[in-house]
């Protein structure tokens, strides 16, 4: 079984100490990427639920930079300690509560005195208290911040710093002195005691605001905290905790001084001043101080990274990143930083120039679709032969993602429009279809009208060149079915033919005509033109499919299925009626069965026999997806379990939180061969895919690929009883491992041939041990060297001397 398609941006990533690796939380694993190549190096596997945070143990001295240890937390209630260079699990702490966030202050604070007995390491974890449910349900406070002794692998008993409605993310200052959370309109900040012990009181303060806060950041050196709110304002409190954290011995006088004026500070917040910056038009999601504290980075829904000069409030922008920003992170290398974007992509930035060096992109997440268009969209299609899934993205692209390699192959811009992530959705990529061999793609996009003006539908055919894998636009058809929306597209299995069915009551058969132009070079291109139009009693056509040999075209006209000869456009037969409007039709492989699925109040999965032209068997099932294998007469169905089923669940362990089931049928037989329970089935997809290792055994069965509603996927052999997990290892990424960071000269021209130089040097020394002027003569900074005219003669001289010596010998 191959799993993949995890979200890279569920929680902030972390840089390794040498900034050559990026640790990204991907589902229940942590993937390690090389920042130089952007490819995956290795993976930390061990957690059984979503990994929520990863903390790299920082290196106090430059020498220890190679140390690769990290802590990870997960919703499975464990904290794990890893050596990620190997990678190897070193320690597991089970605290049995789902952990949402963790900070370890003692790792950050510089321990100047080298204590022989190293003190216990304490961590602060944000957990969801699921243990005593009755108690918590009453109080409705399930989020807690607890203290954990990592050295002794246990929670510090009795220390509950705060309780909140839901678990909050903890943010820590880079010195490790303060950490805080935001909850509704308040910031809560704790001071970490200098000597962290088991039962020490934590001094804390609250800062309040009128709006809900969304993020916060601490200044690396000064007592400044910045917070962003849901309206896009950034609040900066300077000198917070003057009273609270001031310490017992110091400054009662200062306390008095602060009393009188605290501009902008609301209520009795303990801060010297509070200023507000407002540029963002929507919620601020990213706040981050640069490592020297001079700049503040902020970002949010607009997809613009704003760099604020902290003293003056001047702004610089990195505009049009294209999606919402989620996390920003600085690396130990001052020239590298990373942005995590909502489209499941992590950009590695060169900091001062804000250039993008590399992008690590995962599978695109489902893009939001307005409710009225929900039924008209298919989220993804599969390329059976290449093992690809084509996902439509928010910015009007189609992303091709390899299921076997778990990475992006290419991206096709379907609609050439500048995407603003904060805009309302007005253009929707409705449908995507790929031809059987994957060389032709058909897309449908809908532009919504503004008060009845200017909405239209476009059908586009794309062709894939034989050499390069990129699709290029072949034909554009505006309003293929007048005003009516397109309900389905299907490709002929062997010929260049496609059918589009519409709710307007007709379907059109499109045929690609090859033509070659020969003005300067032979350009083969295909034009797609309408070959035939058909309709059946003016009923909306809701689904379409070609039979596996392409001789029959089945089009569903609401509840009945009409069968056509696609060449001659003649109605061959009409088969019986389903209960509700059919939304999905497909022929089952070579067998003469046809499967139809309908939604609605009386959902139905029906298999029709083509030889008898009648229903063979049917189920009352809410089907989400139907897949038919090409070779065998197998049929896989992804069905959503009804809500009522959940109530009477008998076996808690198997069902877990599954809300769907995959059923595998033999076409003629209504009894399923196999079934699997799956999670997040809503909006999921299913397909049979050719397995890759076709070289050794040809009769290997097709694999079944399941993509869930969050675009996580699994590929497995439907016949194999054992569900062994195959490692996804990229052969080619090994080479990209440990990309060496080159700077300056080396990055442009590569390394100088060092060995050669050495050889020469040795040779020379054997000849002339006394003087090696040519080696030392140009060393040193150029401004301190004598003028070149002077140097040159000595330099040449040295060579000549050497030569003469060799001559003598």
């Amino acid at each position: 079984m191959i799993r993949g398609g995890k979200s890279f941006v569920s929680s902030p990533p972390a840089f390794s100490n040498d900034a050559k690796k990026l640790l990204v939380c991907t589902g229940d694993t942590v993937s390690i990427f090389s920042t130089a190549t952007g490819l995956q190096i290795s993976e930390l596997e061990g957690h059984t639920a979503l990994v929520t945070s990863v903390i790299v143990v920082p290196a106090p001295t430059p020498a220890s930079r190679i140390l690769c240890y990290c802590w990870t937390t997960s919703l499975d209630g464990t904290i794990k300690y890893w050596d990620f260079s190997v990678p190897e699990l070193m320690k597991t702490i089970n605290i049995q509560l789902p952990i949402y966030s963790m900070v370890i202050p003692s790792l950050l604070s510089q321990r100047s005195e080298n204590d022989v007995k190293s003190p216990d390491i304490y961590a602060y974890v944000s957990v969801e208290d699921t243990k005593n449910e009755q108690n918590k349900q009453r109080k409705e406070l399930s989020g807690q911040i607890l203290k954990c002794n990592l050295s002794k692998s246990r929670l510090v008993r009795g220390v509950i710093l705060t309780e909140s409605k839901k678990p909050e993310n903890i943010t820590i200052s880079s010195t490790g002195k303060y950490f805080g959370i935001h909850e509704k309109c308040q910031l809560r900040i704790w001071e970490v005691p200098a000597k962290d012990l088991k039962n020490i009181t934590h001094r804390k303060l609250k800062l309040s605001h009128t709006k809900n806060l969304s993020c916060l950041a601490f200044h690396p050196t000064e007592r400044i905290v910045a917070a962003g709110d849901v309206t896009g304002r950034i609040l900066i409190w300077r000198g917070f905790g003057g009273k609270t954290f001031a310490g017992d011995n110091s400054a009662n006088g200062r306390l008095l001084m602060d009393e009188d004026d605290k501009p902008g500070v609301r209520g009795d917040g303990d801060a010297d001043s509070c200023t507000t910056w407002h540029w963002h038009s929507a919620e601020v999601k990213v706040l981050f101080f640069s490592s020297d504290g001079a700049y503040l980075y902020s970002g949010g829904k607009e997809g613009v990274l704003v760099v604020w000069q902290l003293d003056t409030g001047k702004k610089k922008f990195l505009p049009r990143i294209g999606t919402r920003l989620l996390h920003f992170l600085n690396s130990p290398d001052p020239s590298l930083s990373s942005i995590s974007c909502a489209d499941n992509r992590i950009h590695i930035l060169k900091t001062p120039s804000m250039e993008i060096l590399k992008s690590i992109s995962g599978i695109k997440l489902p893009s939001p679709v307005p409710e009225t268009f929900r039924d008209l969209c298919n989220d993804f299609v599969f390329d059976h032969t290449a093992g690809l899934v084509a996902v439509r993205t928010e910015n009007y692209c189609i992303q091709f993602y390899s299921l076997f390699d778990d990475r992006e192959i290419s991206e096709v811009q379907v609609c050439e429009r500048n995407h603003q992530p904060s805009d309302d959705v007005t253009i929707i990529l409705n449908l995507v279809a790929l031809s059987f061999e994957g060389s032709v793609m058909c897309t449908v996009e809908t532009r919504m009208a503004e008060e009845g003006i200017g909405g239209f539908i476009t059908l586009k055919f794309w062709e894939c060149g034989s050499q390069n894998s990129d699709f290029s636009l072949s034909t554009v058809i505006y309003e293929p079915h007048r005003e009516a929306a397109v309900s389905a597209i299907a490709f002929h299995p062997t010929r260049g033919m496609a059918v589009s069915a519409s709710y307007g009551g007709d379907f059109k058969v499109w045929v690609g005509n090859c033509e070659s132009q020969q003005n300067d070079k032979l350009i083969q291109r295909t034009r797609w033109a309408c070959h035939a139009v058909g309709s059946y009693r003016k009923k909306p056509m809701t689904a379409a499919a070609f039979s596996s040999d392409g001789s029959v075209l089945a089009v569903a006209a609401e509840t009945v299925i009409t069968l056509w000869d696609p060449e001659k456009n003649v109605l061959v037969a009409v088969i019986g009626s389903a209960l509700e409007s059919i939304v999905n039709l497909s022929f089952i492989g070579e067998s003469n069965f046809l499967v139809s699925a309908s939604h609605g109040s009386r959902p139905q999965l029906a298999v029709w026999s083509m030889s008898k032209l009648s229903i063979s068997w049917s189920y009352k099932l809410q089907t989400e997806a139907v897949a038919c294998s090409q070779k065998d007469s197998l049929l896989a169905v992804l069905a959503v379990l009804p809500e009522s089923y959940k109530g009477q669940e008998h076996d808690k362990t198997t069902l877990h939180n599954a809300n769907g089931v995959i059923l595998l049928f033999n076409a003629g037989d209504p009894i399923p061969i196999a079934s699997w329970f799956v999670t997040k089935a809503k909006g999921g997809g299913l397909a049979f895919i050719q397995s890759r290792s076709s070289g050794d055994n040809m009769d290997e069965n097709d694999l079944l690929a399941y993509v869930n509603g969050d675009h996580e996927y699994a590929v497995f052999n439907p016949h194999g009883a054992e569900m062994y997990e195959r490692k996804v290892r990229h052969k080619d990424s090994i080479s990209g491992e440990e990309g060496t960071g080159n700077f300056g000269y080396a990055s442009m021209y590569g390394k100088l041939p060092l060995t050669e130089l050495k050889l020469k040097a040795i040779e020379a020394s054997s000849v002339m041990p006394s003087e090696r002027a040519w080696e030392s003569i140009f060393s040193g900074p150029s401004h301190s060297l004598p003028p070149l005219t002077k140097l040159c003669s000595t330099f040449l001289e040295s060579f000549m001397e050497k030569r003469s010596v060799t001559m003598v010998e």
């Binding site: 990195l318 049009r320 990143i321 294209g322 804000m354 050439e416 007005t426 503004e450 200017g454 909405g455």
Partner: protein, 533 residues
């Protein structure tokens, strides 16, 4: 929101693009059809009536003769102007034919008399009497200067000795009018004739049996027949079809070209000239028909390579042996004579100019060594061309942004609309409107427009809103604009006049739509019936 454009954007920028226009299905003209189109038909003076035949002189200036009514007119092929006229006919002249040296011209007539003229003196040297009915075809053999063959409506084909004015052979075999014929390019003793009895006969005067060597049935009255240059193939025209036969192989039908819609009246062999690439010195069949089309047929590939339409019925066609002139005669006396523009003239001018420069004592300035003190030093190597083996790294193409694109990028929506309106390109204006629609800002823009800008918009709407390409967007939009800005419109006289114009164009559109609906009403039952069949 002022985001500076200086820093690099991660996302590609797209300019607002108008909807694509449907491209014509017609492919770009092939070099060959370009060649045939390059004979620009120049309409010469209108002759009196239908041009029954056209013939080129086989010798150098390649003058050509046209027969029409009772005259033969000789035209110069250089100027395409008439040189001389021979009017010694009692009835309609037919089938002019030059002798192989170009000195003499033979022509038949409806009176049955065949006359041989001296081109220079325009006097009839010989009169060949023998045909009792109109003569439609007279021809010299290709080389032979002493004989003629002719055919007439009396269904007899005669072979004449010109000097003695005696018919040597009376070849009988056709059962109807003989209308056409051609001498073999390989033998002066062989020729073919075509007749209205649907048959084409091959004659050989060496076999004096008075019967034809070969009889080919074309299937319809034969209007014209020619030998193809190899001498082994003949092409016959009759009815709507042109057929190619293998005479050596016993009269086997090779191909039938059926692309004319009316009777094919004349055929000739055309040759593609020197300067046309791959096709140099290939032969084509040129056929003209009453449907007004000239078709060029490649009989090696059995494909029509060019098709040119003329406004009237075509009667005759001729192509000069030097490939420079093509003449087509019509039924109403118009002569389309086209000369191909040769590049020789252009080339000669160029070479002369080159000589002129060469004589001048201007030497190439000696290249100085580049030093940093020269400005050129800093530009050295910038215009270097890549050599063949070099791997080219293309600079990514810069997206050209129009002013409205830049404004849209800055979210200045109204300014973008106004700037597009000022630029006056309707496609771009509609594209900007569509972009604004997808930002849901179009109506907001309209409400923000000033009075003069509104005038601009109304002027645009008035002109384009009934155009079918834009009507889908603009009609609904025009309605909204008028509704939302009614107050401003009533306040301004200028806007009122715009509205008046708009109303007029809308009324006209309604009329058009109504008449279209009427037509649809007429057609749709017909289509239904046709579909039922």
């Amino acid at each position: 929101m002022a985001v500076d454009d200086r820093s690099e954007a991660i996302v590609k920028t797209f300019a607002v693009k108008p909807k694509l226009k449907p491209t014509t299905n017609k492919s770009t003209p092939t070099p060959e059809s370009k060649y045939w189109k390059s004979f620009k038909p120049k309409q010469t003076q209108t002759l009196v009536s239908s041009i029954t035949s056209l013939a080129f002189s086989p010798t150098a200036p390649h003058d050509f003769a046209a027969t029409h009514s009772a005259t033969v007119t000789v035209f110069s092929s250089q100027t395409l102007e008439p040189k001389s006229t021979i009017a010694a006919f009692k009835d309609t002249a037919t089938s002019a034919c030059f002798r192989s040296d170009g000195q003499l011209l033979a022509a038949g007539s409806y009176s049955g008399l065949i006359q041989v003229f001296d081109i220079k003196k325009r006097s009839a040297l010989r009169r060949l009497r023998g045909h009792s009915r109109p003569v439609h075809f007279v021809s010299y053999p290709r080389v032979d200067k002493l004989h003629l063959f002719s055919g007439g409506d009396d269904a007899v084909v005669k072979y004449w000795d010109v000097s003695s004015e005696i018919s040597i052979h009376n070849l009988i075999g056709h059962k109807d009018y003989v209308r056409c014929g051609d001498g073999s390019p390989v033998s002066d003793d062989m020729f073919i004739t075509g007749s209205y009895d649907h048959s084409v006969r091959v004659w050989d005067v060496r076999v004096s049996s008075d019967t034809s060597m070969l009889n080919i049935n074309h299937g319809s009255p034969v209007e014209d027949v020619i030998y193809l240059p190899s001498g082994g193939l003949i092409a016959t025209a009759g009815g709507n079809s042109v057929k190619i036969w293998d005479v050596i192989g016993g009269g086997k039908l090779l191909h039938s070209m059926e692309s004319h819609n009316k009777t094919v009246t004349s055929l000739t062999v055309g040759k593609i000239g020197q300067d046309s690439g791959d096709f140099t010195n290939q032969y084509r069949i040129l056929s003209v028909s009453l449907d007004g089309y000239l078709k060029v047929f490649d009989y090696s590939k059995l494909k029509i390579t060019s098709s040119i339409r003329f406004p009237s019925s075509l009667m005759s066609v001729a192509f000069s042996p030097d490939c420079s002139t093509r003449v087509i005669g019509t039924s109403n006396g118009i002569l389309y004579a086209g000369k191909r523009k040769t590049e020789e003239t252009v080339g000669s001018v160029k070479s002369e100019w080159g000589k002129y420069v060469g004589f001048g004592a201007i030497d190439e300035p000696e290249k100085r060594v580049l030093r940093p003190s020269y400005f050129r030093y800093f530009h050295r190597g910038q215009s270097e061309k890549p050599s063949k083996g070099d791997f080219l790294i293309m600079r990514s193409k810069k997206v050209k942004l129009a002013e409205h694109d830049k404004l849209l990028k800055k979210f200045h929506h109204k300014e973008a609309l106004v700037s597009a309106l000022r630029a006056k390109n309707p496609e771009n204006i509609v594209a900007v409107m569509e972009e604004l629609v997808s930002r849901k800002k179009l109506l907001k823009c309209v409400s923000n427009l000033g009075v003069d800008e509104l005038g601009l918009l109304l002027g645009f709407l008035q002109r384009y809103s009934t155009m079918p390409r834009y009507a889908g967007v603009l009609i609904a939009f025009a309605k909204k604009v008028v509704e939302s800005r009614a107050d401003d419109i009533t306040g301004s006289e200028e806007l009122k006049s715009h509205i008046r114009n708009l109303k007029r164009s809308v009324m006209e559109e309604i009329r058009i739509q109504q008449s279209l609906q009427e037509i649809q009403g007429i057609i749709s039952p017909l289509l239904k019936i046709a579909g039922r069949r």
